[in-house]
Symmetry: D2
């Protein structure tokens, strides 16, 4: 009944669900399983995943554990932030942007180990299955894809637990019952959805939040920071140069401490229904504001407006899982071209949930005090030029009104 599979690379977290998948793959497909466990900054130890994989019969040479945090921020998060990407005007795409990276590594491991299939633990109702699989197919068009949640009959928590018990998969005590909601996390954000969060009229309980303290609990005094950018990417905080992942980690700490980055959203999934998510993106929220701040000083209007107009499309591509697509790469070429002089420093005030840009400076600044000043400008700008400018901009409107009466 199942397609013939020889060896499958599983995106493996070490948790109960992917452990059940691991066993189920061995059983249902009779295939060798290779596990890939990535440190994306989700805040969990990875070594337990290795132990568990060994315990479930995976050969040591088939266990791949990698710290991909720097790659994640440098090659995925930063390029996306150059675009000021927001899905549906608000969502910083924290989950979406991690999927292509995982897919890429799974495919690389499949090539290395001669695997003919890849598998993931995303459900059949969500966006993540799409993101994983479009990534797989784009990079390796002939790969077989296994999505257990769409295939098996372990359709309830009870059946899953039974399967785990039957196959002697260890079950943490707190995993026996249903979680009150589902969580995904990486260095950029954590998301919570499902179950207690499914009523969009009900305010999420404080216990939902994992990455941020509440604005109410944050300090009564503002924190000021300076973020330095080079060619569109953040490179330093308060004068200290940091690697991409270290910098984002630092921004996460600052955001968390100041109650920054919470979002309660009803969004449109690619698969067609609306869902409600609660997102926490402390560092990303600061980074987004800071990037807009430095662009405001260094991007020409034509460049800035073009970027703003293509942004929703770019964000949609990432949300829908088309990171590895020609159209995303074309937009990225456009965006990266615009960032050549997005260099300088932004000063921000962080206070109880607020991230306010309060200063920006740049060696590449396009702000001309001489032109804008209310004071005498020594002829930099001839106000009479404005008359002609307006007259010709108005000409077509005047002809229109004349022609139509």
């Amino acid at each position: 009944m199942h397609a013939k599979v020889k060896k499958a690379v599983l995106a493996y977290s070490g948790g109960l669900d992917t452990s059940v998948i691991l066993k189920w793959l061995q059983e249902a497909y009779g295939c060798e399983v290779v596990t890939f466990t990535a440190d994306l900054g989700q805040g969990e130890e990875l070594e337990p995943a290795r132990k568990k994989a060994l315990l479930l019969g995976i050969k040591p040479e088939n266990i791949f554990i990698e710290d991909v945090r720097e790659e994640f921020v440098r090659d995925f998060v930063f390029p996306m932030f150059r675009a000021n990407a927001l899905y549906e005007g608000q969502y910083l795409l924290g989950t979406s942007i991690a999927r292509p990276l995982i897919a890429k590594h799974q495919i690389e491991i499949a090539r290395k180990t001669g695997a003919d299939a890849v598998a993931h633990g995303a459900t059949g109702k969500g966006n993540d299955q799409v993101r994983f699989e479009l990534g797989y197919y784009a990079l390796e068009p002939g790969i077989k894809v296994i999505a257990p949640w769409r295939e098996w009959d372990l359709t309830s928590r009870t059946k899953l637990i039974e399967f785990a018990e039957k196959h002697q998969i260890p079950i943490a005590k707190d995993k026996r019952g249903d979680a009150p909601f589902s969580v995904d996390a990486n260095l950029l954000h954590s998301s919570s959805e499902g179950k207690v969060l499914e009523d969009p009229w009900a305010e999420p309980d404080e216990m939902v939040y994992q990455r941020t303290i509440s604005p109410e609990a944050a300090p009564d005094k503002a924190t000021y920071i300076e973020v330095e950018f080079e060619k569109g990417d953040a490179v330093a905080i308060d004068g200290k140069r940091l690697s991409p992942a270290t910098l984002l980690t630092k921004l996460n700490e600052l955001g968390k401490a100041n109650g920054i980055g919470r979002l309660d959203l009803v969004e449109n999934r690619f698969v067609g229904m609306k869902s409600r998510g609660v997102y926490e993106t402390p560092g990303g929220t600061i980074l987004h504001a800071a990037h807009r701040g430095i662009e405001s000083l260094t991007l020409d209007r034509g460049a800035a407006h073009l970027k703003d107009e293509i942004m929703p499309r770019y964000a949609e591509m990432i949300y829908n899982g088309f990171w590895f697509s020609p159209e995303r790469e074309m937009l990225q070429a456009l965006i990266d071209k615009s960032q050549e002089n997005v260099t300088g420093t932004v000063r921000l005030k962080l206070y109880k949930g607020n991230t306010a840009v309060v200063g920006r400076k740049s060696p590449k600044s396009l702000y001309s005090l001489q032109h804008v000043t209310f004071e005498e400008d020594a002829g930099a700008y001839d106000q009479r030029d404005a008359a002609g400018f307006i007259k010709l901009n108005a000409l077509r409107l005047r002809l229109l009104k004349k022609g139509r009466g």
Copy 2:
């Protein structure tokens, strides 16, 4: 030297600058002056303007004073908010949206009084001159336009004061010296710019803010409100129906009290240079968030994404002064079409500068618990459909990879 003008309708605030313009028009153009003073919610009494106009020799029948607050919110602010318009990702367009209304009234008064010209007090470096004049020309293509700041030689504060004194224009004590910055205000927002604000690296002083208390000064306890929408427009707060202007006034109070709506921005002017503005839009900030909230539940994805994609262009049109243009009206038709079912209630938490949507409900809700739930869904959604969905979305990417290797 000046064009021949018989009668000019001046946008008259009653302040020193427009009083000087009034006198200068009489003198330089030798024309009759008609004054138009509007209550746009800027928070100033209008009757002193009448007195002053009389004092400066304007005939009573040439003095027009109107309360246009309801028209402003109903016909300009609300249509714009249906689009979630943000200029350069951040600015709620508080000044921009008031200009076409003023232009429209000036033209109507010109027709009523047989005037052949209109005049405004905007400078030659800013956007407002463009917005006024494009409005004038679009509505009355043959009108003569007088922009004194681009024409006269009163190029310093000293010369202006001298002219005022010479013509016995009353000068308030605090107007003798230069203001530390320039202010524009209406029911939607107040803006401050120039002088002490011209250094984009320097944080604005607290004294700049006029419409909001600081987040720090706001209450330590959150305020919860419910905003009700019908066809995209807000109609009630906490169950109480309010007229457009009354509703925005109420939101302004709520925003002000909770330190909401401040924005410190470097923006790109239509006339070509960058400028720094400090904006306060307390009620508008809440309204914007609430509108996005109700749309998240009631707008279909196709509609929502199309709106998001055209929004930057729409905002740019308003910022640049093209309110009365076919392209703005075309986009408005598209936007209004989308709002037919944007009806329901949004719950917001206002707290020290934060505006968070924490609940939304609607009789027109498109959120289907049955489809999104993690629980058993009784067949509403067949997860196997996702496999085909992904396969065909992936097909072109697979062919691409195969073709290119």
Copy 3:
């Protein structure tokens, strides 16, 4: 194995394929079949379809035959032509635009007859299945959809013929063998694809063309016509008012006679692969040119450019089958808004495959000889205005160069 179906409305042409489907529905689903046969201008008699349906056991009250040509042109073709819609820069969407109309009628008949299902004869590789089914679902979300080509095992011509013979379905002699290519036709166009056309390097044989004579065979003398428009729709040819379908029929004759409207195209299907189609749209090609011609005189630049920018998206929506979607309706609102003054007459020269606009006039013309003339213009246009216009358009570019060196 098959879903339970009580009664199904089949889009029935009377040809062999849909007759086989008819029988197969009765057999595989054991359901009552209702047939819908539409005259879309495909150039076939409809009464034979009635006879054949009766012969195949369809009750008279279950046979629906309708002449929908006027509806087709008025409510589908004309709205689309207002947008100057071209898919991938070239294709006039002749097949795509007919599908939603058929879907709409099938759903209406399903409601009338109490049917719980609809069925169509499109294959599983093409766009038409998508267009039909998105239409069905958008109009009647609970309807069951049967797509025999995706379900049955009649996967070769031989099996199909066997099935037909077994069920005593009459087979025209020329249908026994495989057709050399597949054809779809309606009043707007005819398309040919598949088989002998599958090699994109090979020029289509002359025998492929059905709606047009070749440019070589067309008269050596040009035909001149005048097409009159009102609010964006063509209403008369050479001064004679015609109904929508009659007008398009007349343009088809003119186009055919002059070898106009052939297109040999490799296009991207929504389902993910490329295909090669040969299209003939004689009247549509002339109508498209004429509509652009009248717009060139009557549309303001802002309106025209906005239309041009959204057009590819609009065309894509129709190609992909999203006619009945909020986003298409929103774009239609925008487009229709622009057409209020697209009124006037276009003169065209038709000659051996060429359609050239050679004249346009309109009571709503925005062309101002006074402004554009090389002659003295009596002050309509002050050339000095251009200096200011250019200076301010250049300002940001100058600041950019200065800032960057």
Copy 4:
């Protein structure tokens, strides 16, 4: 009255008008004049321009004559054709694309010769002044710009001739009277406008056309050619590799001989009015069709549709004169990124005004016969996938209909 100018670089054709400008610059500005005469393929000898410049007192070292045809096609025409750029759906931008090249050379010569000003012969009503001057300012923000037609009082042909006679400027016999229309030409196209062409209802006389014979006069037998592309640029015709300018020259010959490339257009100028132009772009018309042809086979759908959507904006930028702008360069980066595999051969049929793509092949072809075929496809495509694809694409539409009834 005139700005102080030391030395001005004039775009000099050697014709009467620019000779008058040359003299007028010397007289009105009292400045040294440097002439720049370019061979853009306009079809005129350049040496007479040198002689005339010498005669008018220009120093030999101040006379610059350059053959820029290869640069023109390689660096301006080809990049633009990669975008399939059409202004207002039809115009191939033949005049627009030449202006930035001329501006660039003038600025380079200004730097070389220490000139502080540049001058051009475009009128104050057209687009060319904008294109020249935006180019000047973008490349050299401090340059002084002289536009004699906006400044002087030689506002009639008579005055111009008088000035020429007074200054002993040679006047060709046929230049004494007014030309019946105005012409611009380069290797890409020739344009005619003004005077006898100003009535948009009147068909242009055959004598207007200079670059093409009429379709009627073209051979009765079609010409077939093959154009080969590499990375989006044409590199060979009928197997013979040609340099960019040589290739375009060859296409021009082919187009001319077959009556290809005429366009009679009413267009919207950037300065606000409509104008009527008659364009001849024989080679460009073929190149445009051929490029679309090769893209149809080698561009992925995502890439192709994104290109189509941004194209109108890109064309508008070039038409309006913003070649040297960040936004054009950003779009170019996007476009060029898409062209990496636009390689292969297109076969075209040229016949009496028609350019038809009749074949395309490519080593990078994305056309998969296996996927598209009506024949058995050996499992390349599973038709059942289409069901899921449609179901999930339909889901939001079904929820919408259910929610709204």
